[in-house]
Subunit: 493 residues, 2 copies
């Protein structure tokens, strides 16, 4: 069996990746050969697709969701491969993949709450080693626990570089063609680099929201036909689907993809269902109109706002409309470039996060400060320059301090209210008000009858919290008299 050297790890930690590699004689197009492995443990039985990694090497990657002994079998015409391994308890800080929790929220597989505070750096991993490392360093010190980025390179304002490699093998160009590809053959080196990015993010506890397709393209990757796209999806999912921090975003701005119709997207949604045995979080992101987010293969709404003025103020509407978690991943970026989506103040960027949070939803950050070198966080990563990240850390810390996720609750027309629901519908454990761009110097409050609460006044921009002591009944309370105030009541006893 020297030709079919089989490698795997005898021990792997829960929610880490078991990588099984073996060689097979190459005949025809080795990428066309279907490989699958069956894994059996005490808590699960899964069939996992494999992939060709070049140089005669095939691979199967598997994420065990349970501890204990696992066996695997890889049926092949040349003779079945197989083996066994032990799954140890999860490593310190590893909580498993993020899943939908209580219909509108998220939690890690072990039940640890996950409150997404995401950012977008579309092609940060394709900007060379220095920016790659800078970005990771910056992310490590940031509030962001999710990042949206593309598999393919991006062509747009400020995005004119060639990537270090290409996802497909080049084909012979016809006269006048700038690029030509063999969409049946992948370049494993290109994907290994993507995997490195995903793994490094995973080490930082950051979810990788992988944009599988996008329209900002001069190479032709947005113009594959549907069969080519299905083949690419199968390859990508087989390669990276085992990494617990991977989320699938079928597309950025799906509605700008030049050749795609709804049936195509549905077909790609099906490929995910077939190739991803883990049920990773899956979304599809719009430019103009929303996709039908009620479709069963979509786990949550990943949205770009449709209105210049009202963005995350509509989160509760969308929650009701789709019955799923809402992440407004593009609400406009902090910056100063000419595009209206890229020149918000840090205050406005932060406000939009709070508007989403107080409505039981989530938001995504981005940064587009113009600079001479044309390296902008939104696309390239590298360095954060804005004023919002510190405030988003304040928000994240606040959200994580709560005993559960926020649900909309008894709002007034001129303030938004949410609560952390508890046993008593009328006296929830935590009640939060948010005042947005308004700046009341004071407000009259009426707390649930017969229940005492500790009152905190937050300045979400100055990042201060003032303890106003224990309150009960109806009372007037001094606020900040400044924009972006919030009030938080914690039930006492």
């Amino acid at each position: 069996m020297t030709d079919r050297t089989l490698c795997w790890q005898p021990r792997v930690h829960r929610w880490d990746v078991q990588e099984i590699a073996f060689t097979l004689p190459v005949e025809g197009n080795p990428f066309e050969r279907a490989i699958a492995a069956a894994f059996t443990g005490s808590g699960e039985q899964l069939t996992v697709p494999g992939f060709y990694d070049g140089d005669g090497r095939y691979m199967v990657r598997f994420m065990p969701a349970h501890e204990g002994e696992y066996r695997f079998r890889i049926p092949l015409p040349e003779g079945e491969l197989g083996g066994s391994f032990t799954v140890l308890p999860a490593r310190e800080g590893v909580h498993g993949p993020v899943q939908v929790y209580r219909q509108y929220h998220f939690a890690y597989a072990d039940g640890t709450p996950y409150r997404p505070v995401g950012t977008t750096c579309y092609v940060w991993h394709l900007q060379g080693d220095e920016i790659f490392e800078n970005t990771l360093r910056q992310l490590a010190a940031s509030p962001f626990n999710k990042i949206r980025f593309c598999v393919f390179p991006k062509h747009y304002d400020y995005n004119h570089n060639e990537p270090f490699a290409y996802p497909f093998v080049q084909a012979e160009k016809k006269p006048g063609e700038a690029y030509a590809w063999d969409f049946t053959r992948f370049d494993p080196a290109y994907f290994r680099h993507l995997e490195k990015a995903i793994l490094r993010l995973g080490e930082l506890g950051i979810e990788a929201d992988i944009i599988m397709l996008h329209p900002y393209d001069r190479w032709g990757f947005s113009r594959m036909d549907i069969r080519q796209m299905q083949r690419y999806f199968r390859y990508l999912i087989s390669r990276i689907g085992a990494y617990r921090n991977v989320w699938w975003s079928l597309a950025n701005e799906y509605d700008l993809m030049p050749l795609m119709v709804t049936d195509h997207w549905e077909a790609l949604g099906q490929v995910i269902g077939q190739c991803d045995p883990y049920g990773r979080l899956t979304s599809i992101h719009n430019c103009f109109g929303f996709y039908d987010h009620t479709r069963p293969w979509i786990t949550h709404c990943c949205l770009q706002r449709q209105d210049l003025y009202r963005t995350t103020e509509l989160v509760d509407t969308w929650r009701e409309q789709y019955g799923k978690p809402v992440i407004v991943d593009e609400l406009g970026y902090e910056g100063n470039i000419q595009h209206g989506w890229g020149n918000l103040t840090g205050e406005e960027e932060t406000r939009r996060f709070w508007e989403a949070s107080i409505r039981g939803g989530y938001a995504g950050h981005g940064e587009t400060y113009w600079s001479e070198d044309e390296i902008l966080w939104w696309s390239h990563g590298n360095r954060l320059k804005g004023t919002s990240p510190a405030r988003l850390q304040f928000l994240r810390t606040f959200l994580e301090s709560l005993p559960g996720p926020l649900e909309p609750w008894r709002s007034n027309w001129d303030d938004r209210c949410a609560c952390v629901p508890g046993d008593d519908e009328n006296a929830p454990p935590v009640i939060v008000y948010y005042y947005s761009f308004m700046r009341p110097a004071f407000r009259d409050f009426t707390l649930p009858e017969g229940t005492a609460y500790r009152a905190l006044v937050l300045d979400t921009w100055e990042m201060t919290t003032r303890d106003e002591g224990v309150k009960e009944g109806s009372f007037r309370m001094e606020l900040t008299g400044k924009q972006y105030a919030a009030v938080c009541f914690w039930r006492v006893g």
Copy 2:
């Protein structure tokens, strides 16, 4: 004729008021006696209602719209009264009443442009002499050329005073009644004070947008039956309709009036049609839903915004919907009180004016800074404390510098564009862009082909204007990189 002493002025200036007074023997309720005068000049023939002013004295007030000789006749059972007078040219600075101009805009009767920049002080005239004078002094130094205020006193937060007098004669109270009125008898002293306010505003060139009814009431004036309201309308219109700076606002927040249905409002609209021979500007202001502003007796839309987030951003929609001028007279007030309508920043207040302007509409200011003495500009007048008035002066000066009113023109999704239309639809004399809360550091522009424009970059908050010289074709221009920027292109040659 000693009993019927007839007084009038032999000479009066165009658009000023000819006041004809005479006495008649009082029988029964003198307020019930219908009086009318017919005026005939070279350019007009008008019948004008008179009114009882107390102490046996009746009066007819008349605003001549033309120069030259006028005759008047007052037919009476006791024998006709009559006389003649000369109308001299308008006094310096007097341009006549404001009228609708080019469907969506306003101009004085002599053609002088009028760009409303209004404010609201609901009952400033009922707060005693000191505040009365302070308010007028403050208005004289302000950008405001229109003020909304009520005939009746107001009962609401911060509004608990009794007025110096009441519009109606008191009736005998039944047990348990706090107030009782004879709605068929008016107190002329109350109305003389209102007239003093209107005249003093007129001297300052400020339009008096008279709120005839409103729901914030502890006296019972909002609970008159429709016949009582019609009688009151006739009396009010007969008294003050001749003052050229009067506008009729049937109500503030008509939809909160406890007993009124649409037929009642229509009946009151008819009273205006019957009693006001001048066709003064007429509107009706909402709390929640808009009135049907297509009704023929309504000259313009006087609106309170319906959405917390989008206010004057909808002005172009409403213009199209109603085909009339739009004034968003309540877009929220600069201040810091608890109510969401009364705690905007000066920046936001100013932004909303610009959003209205760039869409070919207009807006109204208000100020609600809390103070120990509970004297707030929005209701009492007295003193402006906010940061927006200076910026509204900048806006007014800008609008008045233009060769005509702004019309929406070729907006992009992320900036709003307007122009002053001229002969060449494709190359208007002035083009204006407004960037709202966004802050582009630069923008790419393409000017109408073959036409040179002088470019001005405005910081509407800092109140600066930067001349960028003459531009043509397509070019990138540095802006402010701050919120609230505008760009103005003036056609050259």
